[in-house]
């Protein structure tokens, strides 16, 4: 609760800080605000409170999710130094909108009432529409923003309709009320309930880009400025899965037999669509978009096989995925900027293709290593956090005995190794005329921390156990 209040105030503060002549204060201020919010998050540690007349729950799980979201946001903001050099950028507004969008994410994490979920989803989505189109003079960015907005608004309508139907069936917006209805129906569950549940699921699955609701993802991730792509693929996904987990585990665990087949089919579709399509991409950024779809698939396994371990699996997986993704996008930002500067003089290939990474590791060992570790983690190679994330996910499927889901997932992660290793091969074994890339010290710390976190969690995955 405290981070929500503070982030709202800080967002307004940041907007007004933008009136100062110097832009230099904005980045440190945004980082400080995020740190303060992260610190006050833990005030209620080991206690369970309901806030705002029972609208919002604060327990250890929601605080852990909040910490992941705020930590990812902190790392993304720390990588945003390039705004200061861009004349047309409006850093104060970007940071303000980022903080506001985090308020929405925190509401999705701790909601106790469907209204709160809706408000959270909307705050987060509207902020994302704006940030996607923030590169105003780039045609692709504009197109992405418009696409995202139209489709997002449409699915929000479907989701709201689903909530209304659920209310019609159960007479309650609260998670507990819906659960009470689903567990102990007086005259059998009404049709409205099932339709409402499906529509609500469609709305949320769209937000986390699960197939067949994933068609917006590649275009939007590709068109948005890289920094906001990193934000979208980590914060939005974590918050979306936290919301899905809360919803399914609390309200709808009574009707598990109804939705698990649907979710299992969607999981399979997502895994296949994401991984197979990613193989055919030539742009690294587009590949990361499909990779984020496939990771949504891995995260969905835990939900389709909802059980005792799901909570831990989702937390660990989203943490491992967020850290690796931010490191990958951080390196991409630097490489793309360097290549853009080179393209002006020589007229080479696109700055975001796989070729841009050719020979990167020779001149920039740190960038190469950070990228390699994050790719290994995303591919799920042992001794990285991604391996244990996949391990926990797969063991939930084993616990429920859903072997065919497991088989599909393992096959697809084998496919994943192919396209993740393309980057590593380009960096280490290809020749490329790469000048050393200048990395600002703070930028370097973020990449180092992300890499250390990935390796550390890969060696000692038990660090997080028993926290919640």
């Amino acid at each position: 609760m405290f981070p929500i209040v503070l982030l709202s105030v800080f967002g307004i503060l940041l907007l007004f800080l933008g009136f100062l002549k110097s832009r230099a204060i904005l980045l440190p201020a945004a980082l400080l605000f995020l740190l303060v919010s992260l610190a006050v998050n833990f005030i209620d540690w080991n206690k369970t409170y309901l806030y705002f007349n029972g609208m919002l729950l604060s327990d250890n799980l929601s605080m852990v999710f909040t910490a992941i979201v705020l930590g990812s946001a902190f790392m993304v903001v720390a990588l945003s130094g390039s705004f200061m050099e861009d004349e047309s950028a409006q850093p104060a507004e970007y940071y303000g909108i980022l903080l506001f969008s985090l308020v929405g994410a925190l509401m999705m994490i701790g909601f106790e009432n469907l209204i709160m979920l809706f408000v959270g989803v909307e705050i987060l989505s509207v902020a994302m529409y704006v940030l996607t189109g923030s590169d105003k003079r780039n045609l692709r960015s504009n197109e992405a923003a418009l696409k995202y907005f139209l489709m997002g608004a449409f699915t929000t309508g479907i989701m709201l309709f689903g909530m209304a139907l659920l209310y019609g069936a159960t007479g309650s917006f609260t998670l507990g009320g819906i659960r009470a209805y689903a567990v102990n129906p007086q005259v059998g569950l009404s049709l409205l309930f099932y339709v409402g549940l499906l529509m609500l699921l469609i709305g949320l699955l769209f937000k986390v880009s699960a197939a067949p609701f994933h068609f917006w993802t590649p275009d939007v991730y590709d068109g948005a400025p890289t920094l906001f792509t990193a934000f979208m693929s980590t914060v939005v996904k974590t918050a979306g899965f936290a919301a899905l987990f809360r919803l399914l585990s609390i309200s709808f665990s009574g009707v598990y037999t109804f939705w698990w087949t649907i979710l299992a089919i969607i999981t399979t579709l997502t895994l296949v669509a994401g991984n197979i399509t990613a193989v055919y991409q030539n742009s690294f950024k587009r590949m990361m978009a499909y990779s984020s779809i496939s990771h949504a698939g891995y995260l969905l396994i835990g939900l389709a096989a909802l059980g005792q371990q799901t909570k831990q699996a989702i937390v660990f997986y989203s943490l491992a995925y967020s850290v690796a993704t931010i490191a990958a996008f951080g390196v991409l930002l630097l490489v793309a900027r360097q290549r853009n500067a080179e393209t002006i003089t020589s007229g080479g290939s696109s700055s975001e293709s796989f070729d841009a990474f050719n020979g990167l590791a020779r001149q920039n060992p740190l960038l190469g290593f950070a990228m390699a570790v994050s790719m290994l983690s995303l591919a799920g190679i042992p001794l990285t956090a991604g391996f244990w994330g996949k391990f926990y996910m797969f063991s939930t499927a084993v616990e429920r005995g859903q072997i065919w889901l497991l088989v599909v997932a393992v096959l697809m992660s084998a496919v994943g190794i192919y396209y993740y290793f393309r980057v590593i091969i380009a960096m280490y074994f290809r020749e490329g005329a790469t000048a050393p890339i200048r990395v600002a010290p703070f930028y370097r710390y973020v990449l180092v921390v992300a890499t250390l976190l990935t390796i550390g969690l890969g060696i000692a995955p038990g660090l997080l156990e028993g926290l919640f």
């Binding site: 307004i12 907007l15 007004f16 009136f19």
Partner: protein, 158 residues
């Protein structure tokens, strides 16, 4: 047995039926003598000129946005006002309810006010004025020459 929604449906049907019947009866009763003035669009006495489907100036959109913002604010303040003034609530809480409600309302209006201040300071409320280009002729002839010529050569007495 009608549910509450059934009553609403009946109400809608009755509304359509009422309008239909009244229009039909009026058609039977009224004299029918159209002329050009009667058939033209009513524009508060103005002569209608041109089509209504025209492009509006983009500047109106900002004004419309800000307007909607404060319109919605007002919609929220009306129910607040009724709850704020409830004597029972105030008596039950020894008056602290009033202060609580007042603070909440001030927070709400204050945040919106901050938004307005932001828009204002950013200059989004400034009406972008077209800058008329005044034609200028570069010439060495001084401006008052013509006047002096007129004075010198005009012989007409006033």
């Amino acid at each position: 047995m009608l549910t509450d929604f059934g009553i609403i449906l009946l109400f809608i049907l009755a509304a359509f039926a009422f309008i239909g019947i009244v229009l039909f009866v009026a058609r039977l009763l009224r004299p029918n003598r159209p002329n050009e003035e009667k058939n033209s669009t009513y524009e508060s006495g103005e002569e209608p000129v041109g089509n209504a489907n025209i492009q509006f100036n983009i500047r109106y959109y900002v004004v419309a946005l800000v307007f909607v913002l404060f319109d919605v604010e007002l919609v929220f303040l009306f129910p607040w006002a009724t709850v704020f003034g409830q004597v029972r609530l105030i008596n039950e809480t020894n008056g602290s309810w009033g202060w609580f409600a007042l603070t909440e309302a001030f927070l709400f209006v204050g945040i919106l006010g901050l938004g307005l201040a932001y828009v204002w300071a950013k200059g989004y409320l400034d009406w972008v004025k077209p800058q008329p280009k005044i034609p200028r002729v570069d010439t060495n002839v001084p401006a008052d020459l013509y006047q002096r010529v007129n004075d010198k050569y005009s012989h007409s007495k006033p």
